[in-house]
Symmetry: D2
């Protein structure tokens, strides 16, 4: 079988992460066929580093290229749905970074309208994909992270029911300027960080339902709270070690999800947590407990009196100091599930099956997150439209 020819849209952080993690598949299953970036130098540098022969500066050209079988969308979130629709219409398979899409306007907009707009974007993508008969792969790496995959296998083996899930992604704040504005980021911590743990808990209940009843157990209602904690007058005069420049987006969120079967999930996502990124998922079963600690975990511990001791060696995402005890991730891409994710995507496309992290999950993450915004703004539980 011929390798799948990937065209990557974007040449920044996420694109580099994908290109790097395609490597084990190169030569056999995958060819990096094209890259597209508006900034000419970015595209050229990227193409050179990853040995990509075709370079585009308009995603429409990449999408139209006969040398591309699958469009891997690593562009800014606001552009996801437009590119995805175009790719699908051109008959190309679609890989899209999290979140699938959202609402990209002023943070002062009514949350019900945000939710409607974000879901409309989702549905446009899903319809285009369905019509074209192509595969949509939703790049939620938590689904593939080995600790979460082990958790899933243990839950499957247990025969127990999931009563509650808890999950989190938090750290001390993205340094990207666009992350501070709703117009460019589609929201704050709940969307940008929360898409990961929300994706993980929705996936695990989808999976449980499919195994047991042949159809996913979906979220039924959402109760959430969000805040701009770093902007509170009470802390304005205190030493603050996290990012504090947020325009109209929240830096803290908690979401309580009730599933169709009445079980629960609690998800934390914030940009105010010091000490390194927390990527965790815990399942409380009727007959057991399983905790997946993507990071931090104790596979490696390191201590140095001097913050400079470890030189350029990477520890883990977002530690504000490298002194004292630290929990370095032995191989962060692997521990987070990137190579596993891309392999499943490529196999799914070749086998014409849905990937483990699929279109249903992509849409439901957007739904839960924006229902969360609506809940937080209204102070009410939000019931999700379910037929």
């Amino acid at each position: 079988m011929n390798p799948l020819r990937i065209g990557i849209v974007g040449a920044r952080f996420a694109a580099g992460l994908h290109a790097t993690n395609y490597r084990p598949l190169l030569g056999t299953k995958v060819t990096l066929a094209a890259v597209c970036a508006r900034t000419r130098s970015d595209a050229d540098t990227f193409a050179k580093r990853h040995e990509i022969s075709r370079v585009f500066h308009d995603y429409r050209e990449l999408v139209a290229s006969p040398d591309v079988d699958c469009v891997d969308i690593c562009a800014t979130t606001a552009a996801h749905h437009e590119i995805a629709v175009a790719a699908a219409r051109a008959g190309k398979h679609v890989i899209v970074e999290k979140p699938l899409t959202g609402y990209f306007g002023e943070g002062s907009e009514d949350r019900a309208k945000m939710l409607a707009s974000a879901l409309r974007h989702c549905d446009e993508v899903l319809e285009a994909v369905a019509r074209a008969g192509v595969t949509l792969c939703y790049a939620e790496d938590f689904v593939y992270a080995p600790p979460v995959a082990k958790l899933r296998r243990l839950v499957d083996a247990s025969g127990g029911g999931i009563l509650e899930l808890r999950a989190e992604e938090s750290h001390s704040g993205s340094h990207a300027a666009y992350a501070g504005r709703w117009r460019t980021s589609g929201g704050g911590s709940l969307l940008r960080m929360g898409a990961h743990p929300v994706g993980a808990v929705l996936h695990l209940k989808h999976h449980e339902g499919r195994r047991r009843h042949g159809r996913p157990i979906r979220a039924r209602s959402v109760l959430a709270d969000v805040a701009q904690l770093t902007q509170l007058p009470a802390v304005a005069d205190r030493p603050r070690a996290m990012r504090t420049e947020w325009e109209d987006v929240e830096d803290w969120a908690v979401t309580v999800i009730t599933f169709e079967d009445g079980t629960k999930a609690t998800v934390h996502a914030n940009d105010v947590t010091l000490g390194g990124v927390r990527n965790t998922v815990t399942a409380f079963l009727t007959n057991g407990v399983v905790q997946a600690n993507i990071t931090p975990n104790t596979s490696v511990l390191a201590y140095a009196p001097d913050a400079r001791a470890w030189g350029d060696e990477y520890l883990t995402e977002k530690v504000e100091t490298r002194a004292g005890w630290q929990f370095p991730s032995p191989e962060e891409d692997w521990m987070r599930g990137y190579p596993q994710e891309l392999e499943d995507f490529v196999d799914a496309i070749r086998d014409r099956r849905a990937p483990l992290s699929d279109a249903d999950l992509a849409r439901e993450v957007v739904e839960v997150v924006y229902a969360g915004y609506l809940s937080a703004a209204s102070g009410r539980r939000v019931d999700l439209a379910r037929s």
Copy 2:
């Protein structure tokens, strides 16, 4: 100075815990002067074990006894407020187990009425105490648990602001029959278990406010969700290793508290968590993070292939098996703060000052818990009455 003469109402678990933890104070600061229990044999056995000379069978007699300076209420929760009012009116200092009081009727009652009733009970106690000029000591041991005390000192030292607190008390379910009925227990997990972590987070913000501004930072609103997870049809046919006999009370709760300064707390309390009790408090500061793990922690680890290997030696509260790896508590009363709590109470009464765990905390815990019930039932954020 003469020892404080304690009269204990109750002769069951909590009473025994108190009697045991008064021991370091006996002879110098404290005399166990009297015990009261309706069941004659219970009272006699207890008096004998703890060398208590006076035995009563009606709390009114103990309260009236001239040999008692301080009434330590370890009776059932439903009787707390009546005994406390009587003790205060008799001019006796009052120590009362958590929670101070609550609503004790049918679980089907309207939550707003529950909240009003519970607060009325609180206010009766607080008014009686104030009028009599006696001291009310609220027996919330989390306030005194050494890991939490260390957390408090570290937070004080840091000069940082508390952005979010997370706390939990969960295990696999009290075995007491009364715990399953609202009429006798005043609620489910949120009241019975949640009073501890709710007490801890309210205390820490009260403390922060007093240090900084001379007055407590109080809870302003509550968002909560509760459920009877073990009763869901979806899990009825699964192996369930936790208690499942709950009448009209919840076995799972999560509470999100917003404080007057806009900062947050998330509190979990449930009876569906396997693997031993979780008693934890974490503070996310503007310039640091502190985690207090009362249990589990790694001060002792033990492993046995055979569940019977450890014989009668205590491990920790509520482990369903004693096989495999376990996290035994080296000295659970101490680690939970019981001796420290009672010493502070006795000192506070002698010094005519408020104890660290005081009447304000006792009332606010009840307020937050029942506001939580109202929030969960209505699906709305509940604003607390603040003048």
Copy 3:
């Protein structure tokens, strides 16, 4: 470049582990060309499972086969050196499971003679390899295990000196019958288990020396103690949950290594440790500490009251019960470094360079282990022959 054609000698556990972990390399870098096992059915089953076209029953035929470029020796330890010599003489590259070789006779033999015999075996292999100009790859996976690899990178980055290393492989005892007899196993815990942690610490000092001075820092002397703890009369009447059937080999060992630069390593290796395998390496540096926990670590935690809850899902090597808290390994082969090891071997052979785990290491592990036996038997520190 043509794929490297691997011929595997052996069709049992280690062979299966290798065959499985070659998979990511199949098609591009590697072909599984042949397998050899004396038992016809074993060979056939293995060949079928791993899609291997050529099957041999005498290693000499595999070694002579023109379809094989590299002989991967997964046979019993006692046969290693003979096969390795034959393979090298046939001009084939050699991959050999740990330990490279040893002394295979009665456990009552004089330890100095054992050491001499084992080193002679080593030297025969090394000379045959050198003469043939082929590559010897020593399959010590600890060298490649991601936590150890991260430790190595952190140590490199630190610029600090390694003062002491501690490492261990222990569990509750191999179930293989041959492991209990010196004649078949070449020794007990110190050789069979200890080869891993001894390999790790020697490698790390070799690596430090090569980076700093262009040549390895080698072991200079060995002080060791061994015992048959499970056979002591003092414990014969006690409940014993580990393997207790050992003929003439030890079930417990500790080794203290002094390196040429005066720094130290302490290595534990035993078959009496309950609770799951311990695979750990810690480096105490002049300016930091790094701990690598291959297993156990907290990337996944699981708890079940019932030992049968996890069904057939693998937890980790050698847990005597599956109840209680456990530390499952999320993907054990990866965490132990098997795929990384095989990839380095294949690349090293193609690039005509030494692999990270090389012939020098293979020999020095044997030297240190048997010097340890001599030390334990004589109660004296053993100085290693160094030119």
Copy 4:
């Protein structure tokens, strides 16, 4: 019964630790009757802080004082045995800080002579105590540390045999000048730090023997290695974050003890370990494993980007930086067993029974440590004289 009247010899760190930890016993069981220090101002300051009425400047006067029932020796180690003998001869009970005594001369002295000299000192004390019929209390707090006490109770409950013990006390080096010279300190890491973990493992086997056979299981032979790792030329040019000023004493030691029943203990003690003090004891049983982590453990975790964040609040002994993740001890004196130790001593003296940490232990610690020095110097296993 009258309180025991304690006379403390010494007014520095250890004396303050004792005085502080007598507090729960003051008024009932204990009176601090006298203090003795050569430096007048030290004695006066100490007496004032701890409300001690009698002050001496010559220990002979304190020992002779009719107001003193028990002499608590917190003087420098070199003076222990002389004071202890004098106290016993004066009919006073004796509490002595660890180690009981040692050899105090040049580090170049022959190790066999050191051992003989140290044992002679021990025997003088033990004979004086026996002749006077007073009680000797050996202040080894590890015996009383709650995690170790819990370990002991779990081992007792298990009915399993102890196969191996591992224990350690290590940190980055005492700052006291006297600790660097044999003449004043009696040795290096092995004596000064190692007395604790050696004491713990000897105690646990003594205890096991007494429970099972009515007499202690004692150490039979010792194999040890020591080094001055910080002085090695190989690390002289590297960044070194630990103390490096050692004259004639070692900064690193490992000791392997074989007990009379053939079981083993491995003890690490060094002054080269960064990241906070390690005080740990692990028991590997025939039917289980128990780990006692006095420090570090996870009862409290704290993280700060800025090393100054925690102000003056104590974290734990010997952390070189206060930045990054830390493992603060919630109440270090309690966790290390000081108040428990002193209470047992006072009770033992009153009840005319041996304390848990007794004269036998005190002597055997000295024997094992100096046998360790002999072993390290000779490169041979040292058999202990046993009748």
